[in-house]
Subunit: 333 residues, 2 copies
């Protein structure tokens, strides 16, 4: 495992993006977001995903010279078109717009269509929280999970992000997809010869299993809460694609095997202004949870997103841990 | 099993509420909501819950003569105080207010504190959808589930509701709590001598189990998606109690063993106006899901909330199915 300094990672990525035709300002923004995700320990949606991002530029799915444009305004709600621009800078732009609307109206919401993969959804929750706002956002995806009662993949592993700000920047955040495990997590467990910690999908006999190799044979991954996560996933897709008037999950699937032209929802609420008691309330909830009787006496309960602050402290001190072959691949792009 | 006509149920409940000091208009509204829930097959949050509602009036948790009052307006976002009034009419009032805000600003959000149990959360999602709006709402609860990594109950079984309108009134809706199974569902399985269909909690040895009797010994119920549902539950509570500046789940717990003085969030988005393509998009998603390769060839996949329309058709034709002893109890109140 290499350790790469954030400045170096940022400049390498920016340079590679510019070399692939991305305008300088968008390249810098895109690289900065990927470095932040990597610093927080989310390399799967940071540096590890960079080669695929470049391949999507080469395949012309991402038109990085385009910025989002306003389709229509309804006051605190706006509909935007991503024009198939860079996914993470599009998302950042639209969360900024939601924050501006929240300043004006208390709450702001942007529905975005024709956009690309936003990498780590949590980046936009943290962005809202850094502005003193509660951030709620989600995206649809390509069809990658069966609906409950079905065998073939028709619904999305749509991630839901909910983030509440704290003054020290250690915001409380849920950033999780509607599948119990990502394809990446299932592959990783198989390569390490491990079972998943809980059931993650179906085997070839139609039984639920913790065995990642069996799940990879069927790709019938489990939604969180079985039928419940299936329903939440369907609703997230329906709301995003309806409000943005863009592709639903099945529409993304109809485009082919790659994932582009997605819909997203960004909501910001001006919590700092609305709730003078926010800091006290948030800390009270965290303290209560940490006061739980522990399953493992040595394992403190963590609040949502606390792990990423632990990872970040290490990355800032020692550099970002990057798999050697991934970094070689990045340098060779 | 008795069959009670909705008109009869409505007039019996209204009469009982008035006899317990509830003003006529609130009694009529409250009874109408409970009958609607019962018609949809959600008797657990309809007629079956009526005796407990009356006991909460008697215990003075519910001050049914009070209506919600505006604390502060921020434009499209408003903070309201429920003044410990009737839970379901408070919620209905505040979702109506969110709908009015959505008409004006595209999106409207109300945070409500000091309110009481809203019975079926889905009622307010359907209310938004009946007005052509997408409705999103949630409530916090008393502490009734351990946080992930903890043994004692510190987080809420907070239900999340997301509803998208359809022209024929058969709206698509997720209405589900963050525990895999409700206490009622666990008790029901034990009484029927059945195992739960999937793991629902921990046994006395600390292992996950489908055995309802074992779960009732520990009351360590499982969140949907294990750590994921635990995080979503914490965020829902944190957002609602922060924005409403009311009791978080641990604050509700500090009041004692009964559940009152809750916080809720109601969001409405004027989808009919924003999305001329809504009906087409929603039907496309439903058709795609129904086109899945089926696990059980004889079992059609249902869209979220479809079951309740099937129940309703039966109830409207034959009367609402009510357990005999429950109805006797209601009549005796």
């Amino acid at each position: 495992m290499l350790r790469i300094q954030p400045d170096e990672m940022r400049s390498v990525m920016t340079e590679k993006l510019v070399a692939h035709g991305v305008p300088t300002d968008i390249a810098a923004d895109c690289a900065a977001l990927l470095v932040e995700n990597s610093l927080d320990g989310i390399v799967s949606h940071g540096v590890n995903r960079f080669p695929r991002l470049i391949s999507y530029l080469e395949k012309d799915y991402i038109h990085a010279d385009r910025k989002p444009s306003l389709v229509q305004s309804y006051g605190a709600f706006e509909k935007w078109d991503g024009n198939l621009g860079m996914g993470n800078t599009n998302a950042k732009y639209c969360m900024d717009r939601a924050i501006e609307l929240a300043r004006q109206y208390g709450i702001g919401c942007v529905a975005l269509r024709n956009t690309n993969h936003w990498m780590r959804g949590g980046a936009y929750g943290l962005q809202a929280a850094n502005a003193g706002c509660i951030g709620i956002c989600w995206t649809n995806t390509q069809p990658n999970m069966p609906a409950w009662g079905g065998k073939d993949r028709r619904i999305g592993n749509n991630p839901l992000i909910m983030c509440v700000p704290r003054k020290d920047g250690k915001h409380v955040m849920m950033d999780g997809a509607m599948a119990m495990f990502s394809y990446g997590a299932i592959e990783k467990a198989r390569l390490e010869g491990k079972m998943l910690p809980v059931e993650g999908g179906f085997d070839t006999k139609g039984n639920v299993t913790k065995d990642p190799a069996e799940i990879e044979k069927t790709w019938r991954v489990l939604p969180i809460g079985y039928w419940k996560g299936s329903c939440i996933s369907i609703m997230m897709d329906m709301i995003a694609s309806t409000l943005a008037e863009g592709n639903p999950v099945c529409g993304v699937g109809a485009l082919g095997d790659d994932e582009y032209a997605l819909c997203q929802i960004m909501i910001a609420i001006d919590a700092e202004r609305i709730s003078p008691s926010m800091e006290e309330n948030v800390n009270r909830i965290i303290a209560d949870i940490k006061g739980s009787e522990r399953v493992n006496p040595d394992q403190e309960l963590l609040y949502p997103n606390e792990l990423s602050y632990i990872a970040r402290e290490d990355s800032e001190k020692n550099g970002i841990p990057v798999n050697e072959s991934v970094w070689e691949q990045v340098l060779a792009l």
